[in-house]
Symmetry: C2
């Protein structure tokens, strides 16, 4: 069992437009099953969603549940809305417990982390993501909700003067696979654990 | 003649470490001519640098000029430091004039925009970049100087509620080429004009 992301990212690093619509919507060629989504869905009987994203979706999902046949986990410390029990939705209070809870569910495959961005960052931080899949979309949004880059700094002559001139080297993430789509989107999948 | 970038970008969108060292330095496999740099150097007899980056380099370059045989343009409204004339360095006061000035120089090839990030963004904004080449490095830096993503927003339930549910579609940038390197870095070159 592996915990994976498959997130659309504009070339300038946004996972969503400023109003919260996913960056995937920026490419007109995005649609049912495109961009490797069918493959991920097939391989992932499990789904993990952050509470903010879940609440965004739930108002529609309560009457038209889109995840039949998949087991949905929601990262949250608050009680789930009533109605979720009919779909077998399970709350995960501690992100570091995700893997254990998913394994207890006995799924025959992987788990896809839907997002949002802060959920992906949280799970990365606690080492609960095995494969970080990002699909670089050939667009510049200019603004929006970034997946990463949430601690930007400007260039500073003072910091430059004080720099030892050698960076602390971060871990290299092995690139497991890449997939070029006809519209110029490129899926890059990195192993992170 | 085309104006091009060839910038190393961490997976989380940083072109430089917080102290100003280039993101390229994050990959131990980066070195003389690696990651397509020889090819770009060969094809680009011209170079464009922003004033901040130029000043960073000049203290070393004044005695050991690294750009023999290449014509260097500096985006700046201030006079260049003395000594630059011996290397034929040329100031460009108006970014929108870059192409005209480069063409006047009669170079037999392309021009590479070295950076920094704000220079790349400025030239993109005025349509003076033809090929946007970014090399996605397989590392997460956590913080640093972003290439883009300088207008991030957080998710807002209010904006979501007010969203028309359809984004304004940005232009799709044609992907001209991609190049996978042995260390998992991936060069993506987009046509932007």
């Amino acid at each position: 069992m592996q915990i994976r992301t498959h997130v659309g990212l504009s070339l300038d690093g946004f996972a969503a437009f400023a109003d919260g619509l996913p960056a995937w919507d920026a490419v007109p060629t995005f649609g049912e099953g495109s961009h490797g989504i069918d493959e991920v869905t097939e391989q992932c009987p499990g789904l993990v969603i952050g509470r903010t994203s879940f609440d965004q979706g739930w108002e529609h999902w309560v009457s038209h549940w889109p995840y039949d046949g998949r087991k949905v986990f929601v990262l949250t410390t608050r009680p789930l809305p009533s109605g979720t029990e009919q779909y077998g939705v399970e709350a995960v209070a501690d992100p570091a417990d995700l893997r254990r809870q998913v394994e207890s569910a006995g799924l025959a495959g992987d788990v896809q982390v839907l997002g949002g961005p802060s959920t992906i960052r949280t799970l990365l931080d606690v080492g609960e993501i095995d494969l970080l899949g990002v699909c670089i979309l050939p667009v510049l949004l200019g603004t929006g909700v970034p997946l990463f880059a949430i601690e930007p700094v400007g260039f500073s002559a003072e910091r430059w003067a004080a720099s030892p001139g050698r960076p602390e080297l971060p871990a290299m993430l092995p690139l497991e696979s890449q997939w070029l789509f006809a519209d110029g989107s490129v899926l890059l999948v990195y192993r992170t654990s």
